[in-house]
Symmetry: C2
Subunit: 184 residues, 2 copies
């Protein structure tokens, strides 16, 4: 149920999706749904938690690849994301970006949860950038936290634009300009 | 009716907004609505057209300010956007970003219209960046089109994040890092 929720919410967002659409796909009656989740809100939060855990594992896989130079790890993460978006015909974006766009019509609890997830991603990237400073690829005066924040701010825009353009080009422009900007 | 549509769609998106919500605010009966617009889709497209025209005038105001150095014009545009978002308590984002996020559940016509609007903004910014190359602020090897594309890709992410954080900080981080990246 969480897996189907993740897929549907990532495609079409939370507020315009009825619980019925999820239940139809998993063939579970409505009564059983409310046995597991108190509300659509509670279900959405569990889906977001599951997505955050999945994405954290993905980031660890790419950002902690000790045998790859740090900035190449970031580049590799983007190549993987490009392959993922292409695989789903640009139907799926980033669940955090989708829900973030809907923040005004979502319960307040989502807002804090989404911001916390983005700060977690920021921390993971900042560690990777700090390695690039230590090995001399990045100048010592680079603010790794600010640059990691800049990455995820722009990233959500790049994913949004790739879905709109139905093309990986926005992701290519984003990562090329981002890396050129910090290494120039 | 278009003005109210712009406000509501910019706050809560298109698909989760019923025409009734718009009609309630302008106190127009449903029959009159369908006298002016063939459908909610046609109405949404007119709202988007109106927004694009409004935003183009705004960009001209900032990006064509001949007495201001080109990169300062871009900075000024962002300061103005910060004031605008603060004024509406971070309830309003960018209509193009909001609709862009919903692209999968919108009619195909929206997708092309949204992409065209973003390319128009990109062209306007590229001209401003080209002025910065001519006056020597930017290096001659800067690709103004690619950098303008990068700006709007990141911009939609920054507006999304500012709404999520209910703070101008993401816009500050975005513009500081963007300008540092192209001038470094």
């Amino acid at each position: 149920m969480l897996r189907v929720g993740m897929a549907i919410f990532t495609e079409q967002g939370f507020s315009s999706t009825g619980i019925e659409a999820v239940l139809r796909q998993v063939q579970v009656p409505k009564g059983s749904f409310y046995h597991y989740f108190a509300s659509k809100e509670a279900f959405g939060q569990e889906v977001l938690k599951g997505y955050a855990a999945y994405f954290a594992r993905k980031l660890d896989h790419w950002f902690l690849a000790r045998d790859v130079p740090p900035l190449e790890r970031v580049w590799n993460f983007v190549q993987d994301a490009k392959a993922g978006m292409t695989k789903y015909d640009f139907r799926r974006g980033c669940l955090v970006g989708n829900l973030g766009q809907e923040v005004l019509v979502l319960p307040e609890s989502f807002r804090q949860q989404l911001e916390a997830v983005l700060l977690d991603w920021q921390g993971r990237l900042a560690l990777c950038l700090a390695e690039a400073v230590r090995d001399g690829t990045l100048r010592a005066d680079i603010d790794c936290d600010a640059q990691a924040a800049f990455f995820w701010i722009g990233w959500e825009g790049a994913v949004l634009r790739a879905r709109l353009a139905q093309d990986v080009l926005p992701l290519d422009i984003f990562i090329a300009s981002y890396l050129a900007g910090i290494t120039r």
